[in-house]
């Protein structure tokens, strides 16, 4: 009897332990076989049936499956698909290394893209586009160096501010409604040279993702989009140098292992040098900008990894002392003004990240983030000088967790705390000028932003996958505390391997806004927090899409429609003067808006001919009681049609030809349509008063543009790789109107004319890598 009882207990113990122990976990990273860099968003699927997971922002994946023998398929755009057999009888670490494919192996390329597209069809993430930097480097550019902000402008749902600028406006939103993250640090000012160039050195970047709707819970703080940019981690295996010399700037990147396979670095620099070159022939061009990107990482055992990354960039305008520039024969000294003017503005960001694996299924990342944007303007004449400075500085702590319960269920949660310090308009005047200009004291304004979130990704049935979450955000500002739940939801219903429908809803809140009335990047633009009276901006967005994988032509089609309601948007009173205005709050108005539209994206990421066609039909309106006599009006950048065709043809292993065609409806403006004479207030004469049409009632003429890029590379397989880029922006010299002028024609009198900012602009650049 005793023996039988022991046997029964043993059986129960064995069977119960067996019930729990039947599940084991395969976890690890997917990385580039050559460099060891993590591949973000690559798929790890279990064959057959292809249920699986995607790697997170650090290339990590975790699959918990019953004990057994499995075939794992790993895929990523631009890489050979990897298939391997795993016998799962215990928890297994697995480092998957994917090989990049070249154009010479077309079948392999196509196969890799097919897998990636099949996975994209099944992903519940919608309104999102991921771009790999290596695929963008052939897109035609100004100056021979790709500018990611201008590439993003070619995507559906994204339009630009003025021609030639780097500002983006997403789904009818405003320029300050985009959360732009560089290795998790907010970049407040993305522009160099008044918006002509972006601050992102392409050689320093690995990939970027833009999310326009269906926002995951970990993102918040802006209404319209998230642009998540990742810097290169640095090659873990060997040293590499790459760079480029263009007409306007040059850049250099060095990367390599610090300790082979364990720690690596990447260091990039870029600077314009037209000031130096023309300075040699005594032509003063007192302006330059520079960027420095640095990143390092170290693996601390199997469970921990530390990343550090930083960015520093400035625009510098300096007028040399005019003392020596007068007439040398002039002894009066009148030309000796001791005059100068200059400004320096730029960003500094730094991110320290710690990846930690609590278990095979629980991944965490904790980030300590610092970022600062500031501008300093200085001027002096004779014994007078003035300094004007403003800055915004953030210190942030962020923690994200991912619990990979099984291939069907993933739970993500985390939180973020941001301490903002705003220091607006510090003015210091010396000399006689101080009698006119009042010095302002250093006045720090602090604001705190807090957010926590949770998200549950669940493959409910074979065809239906949902991602539901809640973000609770808040801001503490002087005399007021704001808090709000932000529900997020998205779902995908797959009809088969090639077709799916997706839908999503997101509520977003924004606790900062840009004090600017223009999309031109001015040195005086400044961010400011909400206050007791200025309420947070809020947006509800719903979106629905259909995705189809055209297997025969290896392309992915997405058609998407969205509707967005926006509340407490900010605009400025008519005629508001925001320059050096400390009391700009009195000029600020809040109102509502709505935007809706339809987007189409047909893309082909790999193959000898690749690129995309993007089309957007959009509408964006605003309602402000104190503007336009309280009547609804169109947003300034309400562009009805936006078509981009990007084609890259890798003609041979050495020659590539790429072209971009864009058609863009004109931005809106408020024209003067009449005038009248009225007595002046002192009744001593008359003055002319202009009559304007309804706000933003008229469009600039639509613009067509063709850009071209020819790339001649040296022979492949050489260790030293070099490329000549011959680019031509606006090849056909088509008009690209930017504003309306009243111009006098001797024969016809005054006429309305629309000048263009940029015409045909050829450039040449030489890029190298070894």
């Amino acid at each position: 009897m005793k023996t039988r009882l022991h046997s029964l207990l043993l059986l129960l113990l064995w069977s119960s332990s067996g019930l729990w122990a039947q599940n084991f976990t395969i976890s690890g990273h997917v990385q580039d076989a050559e460099s060891g860099e993590a591949l973000l968003g690559s798929a790890v699927m279990v064959l057959p049936g292809k249920k699986g997971v995607y790697t997170n922002n650090y290339g990590f994946f975790s699959l918990t499956l019953p004990k057994g023998k499995y075939q794992l398929l790993s895929s990523f755009i631009g890489y050979e698909t990897d298939t391997q057999t795993v016998i799962l009888d215990q928890n297994r670490p697995l480092e998957i290394k994917l090989k990049a494919v070249g154009t010479q192996v077309e079948e392999v390329v196509i196969s890799a893209a097919k897998e990636a597209y099949a996975n994209e069809v099944k992903s519940p993430q919608m309104s999102s586009i991921n771009l790999q930097m290596k695929n963008l480097k052939l897109v035609p550019t100004i100056g021979g160096e790709v500018d990611i902000m201008k590439v993003i402008q070619l995507l559906p749902g994204v339009t630009k501010g003025g021609e030639g600028t780097t500002s983006i406006l997403v789904r009818g939103g405003d320029p300050d409604q985009n959360l732009i993250l560089l290795d998790e640090a907010v970049v407040y000012n993305v522009s160099h040279l008044f918006g002509f160039f972006s601050v992102f050195n392409p050689d320093a970047l690995k990939d970027l993702t833009i999310i326009k709707g269906g926002f995951p819970g970990q993102y918040g703080g802006r209404l319209s989009s998230v642009l998540d940019i990742n810097m290169n981690e640095g090659n873990l295996k060997s040293y590499h140098v790459k760079g480029g010399i263009g007409l306007l700037s040059s850049r250099l990147t060095v990367e390599g292992p610090i300790v082979k396979e364990k720690a690596s670095f990447s260091l990039s620099g870029r600077r314009t040098y037209i000031d130096q070159v023309l300075g040699l022939i005594n032509v003063p061009v007192p302006y330059y900008f520079y960027d420095v990107n640095a990143k390092a990482n170290v693996k601390l055992g199997d469970k921990d990894r530390i990343f550090w990354s930083a960015y520093l960039g400035d625009d510098v305008l300096y007028t040399p002392d005019l003392e020596d520039q007068g007439d040398p024969n002039d002894t009066s000294g009148v030309g000796d003004l001791n005059a100068g003017f200059g400004f320096r503005l730029g960003n500094l960001t730094s991110t320290l990240r710690w990846n930690h694996l609590f278990s095979e299924r629980l991944f965490s990342n904790t980030s300590l983030i610092f970022n600062r944007f500031k501008y300093d303007i200085t001027g002096n004449v004779l014994n007078n000088s003035i300094f004007i400075g403003s800055s915004v500085l953030d210190l942030s702590l962020k923690s994200d967790f991912g619990f990979y319960r099984n291939p069907e269920q993933t739970i993500r949660f985390g939180g973020q705390y941001i301490r903002h310090r705003f220091r607006p308009n510090v003015i210091s005047a010396q000399g006689d000028i101080s009698q006119i200009i009042e010095n302002s004291e250093v006045n720090n304004i602090f604001a705190d932003e807090i957010a926590i979130y949770g998200q549950y990704d669940w493959q409910m049935t074979e065809n239906l996958k949902i991602a539901g979450g809640l973000r609770i955000s808040g801001a503490v500002v002087p005399k007021r505390v704001y808090a709000s739940p932000e529900p997020r939801f998205s779902a995908v219903y797959t009809l088969d391997d090639k077709n799916s429908f997706k839908a999503g809803y997101a509520l977003m809140r924004q606790y900062l806004h840009l004090v600017s009335s223009s999309t031109v990047a001015l040195p005086t633009d400044l961010w400011y927090p909400v206050t007791a009276d200025v309420k947070p901006q809020t947006a509800h967005q719903v979106a629905a899409s259909y995705t189809h994988h055209f297997e025969k032509i290896n392309s992915l089609l997405t058609v998407e429609s969205y509707y967005k309601w926006m509340y407490n948007l900010t605009e400025y009173r008519e005629g508001a003067n925001l320059i050096l205005n400390n009391n700009f709050e009195s000029e600020l108005l809040q109102g509502d808006g709505r935007s809706y539209g339809f987007e189409l994206l047909l893309k082909r990421d790999e193959g000898r001919i690749n690129g995309w066609i993007g089309y957007t039909l959009s509408f964006s309106q605003r309602f402000f009681e104190e503007l336009n006599e309280g009547k609804p009006f169109w947003a300034k950048y309400d562009r009805r049609h936006d078509l981009s065709v990007v084609t890259i043809w890798k003609a041979t292993d050495q020659i590539s030809i790429s072209a971009v065609y864009t058609y863009l409806s004109g931005a809106r403006f408020t024209p003067q349509v009449g005038q009248y004479l009225t007595p002046n207030p002192s009744l001593t004469g008359v003055e002319t008063i202009p009559i304007f049409a309804e706000r933003n009632s008229t469009r600039l003429t639509a613009a067509n543009r063709v850009d071209l890029n020819l790339v001649f590379a040296n022979k492949p397989r050489k260790k030293f790789r070099s490329e000549w880029h011959f680019s031509c922006y606006n090849l056909l010299n088509s008009p690209t109107p930017i504003r309306v002028n009243l111009t006098f024609d001797p024969e016809r009198g005054y006429v309305y004319e629309q000048p263009s900012f940029l015409g045909r602009l050829p450039s040449i650049a030489w890029n190298f890598e070894f």
Binding site: S517, Q654, G685, T701
Partner: protein, 293 residues
């Protein structure tokens, strides 16, 4: 490949250009009547009626003055102008040159008056109403000259600023005020009379609101560099409507900064004329004359 590169280089550098500007047609605002008015020492009302015109038309001038031919096109001499109020219903006398006059009627403070204008030549009509606001009186007007100097390369440049000190009692309620400065004579010589159609040559105008006023008496110091020793200066204080105050401020704001001109949104100026433009104002100025010695 070097051949290609050598061939492409000159083509690249020689082909840069900018497209010609593109013309655009913009529908113009329809013509409307424009009103202006002034109380004549509370013994009558003078109203001016004119028409708005195309934005593409440059105002032709003869020297500083708007050309008569152009004025003939704008000024409305074919209108019937009717003023109505608690103590008046009068069709104003047509003085030509767009002016219409009521004389001998004392308008009552705090009463509302209505103006109807119909132009038989164009069929255009407008309507406006305004309240005769209580008159604001100066408590005191004083002045001083202040010398400013700038030392520039061992040369001292001097300038004289005219500081005007004014005070007046704020009236009950929310109020808006306008102060105008006039140089009546310069160095003892009378200033030539200004032509009413001199373009953009206004005298200095200052506006005030009592929204931030903590006391009951308004004190302010105004600086102006256009007044010299020996000049005779007229100072006029008017209690104006909120709409007219906003009009004056909009005018100042839109032209106050090069940034506003380049980057700001256009300003649509307020008007109290239904179906037209301009202002129907009935305010009493209080005046003081000082000889700056």
């Amino acid at each position: 490949m070097k051949k290609y590169i050598i061939l492409l280089l000159p083509i690249i550098f020689l082909s840069a250009c900018i497209p010609d500007p593109v013309e655009i047609e913009i529908p113009q605002a329809e013509t409307r009547l424009v009103l202006a008015s002034q109380l004549l020492f509370n013994q009558g009302v003078l109203v001016q009626v004119s028409k708005s015109f195309n934005a593409l038309t440059e105002t032709p001038t003869n020297g500083d003055t708007v050309e008569q031919d152009f004025l003939d096109l704008l000024l409305v001499d074919s209108a019937r102008v009717v003023l109505e109020g608690p103590n008046i219903q009068d069709t104003l006398l047509n003085l030509e040159q767009g002016f219409y006059l009521n004389l001998g009627t004392e308008l009552l403070e705090n009463e509302i008056y209505r103006l109807s204008v119909f132009d038989s030549a164009t069929g255009l009509s407008v309507f406006a109403q305004t309240e005769v606001l209580e008159r604001a009186e100066f408590n005191s007007v004083a002045y001083r000259f202040r010398e400013q100097s700038i030392d520039f390369q061992d040369t001292v440049f001097k300038d004289t600023s005219f500081d005007l000190f004014i005070s007046f009692d704020d009236l009950e309620g929310d109020n808006y005020y306008m102060l105008n400065l006039y140089r009546i004579s310069q160095d003892g010589s009378p200033q030539p009379a200004e032509n009413l159609f001199t373009l953009n040559q206004g005298q200095p105008t200052f506006t005030f609101t009592d929204a931030l006023l903590s006391g009951e008496t308004f004190f302010d110091t105004l600086s102006y560099s256009g007044i010299g020793f020996g000049d005779t200066v007229g100072v006029a204080l008017s209690h104006i409507s909120k709409e007219y105050y906003e009009f004056l401020n909009a005018r100042q704001r839109s032209g106050s900064s090069i940034f506003a001109a380049l980057l700001g949104e256009p300003v649509n100026y307020p008007s109290n004329v239904e179906g037209g433009y301009g202002f129907f104002n009935l305010y009493f100025p209080s005046t003081e004359v000082i000889v700056a010695e």
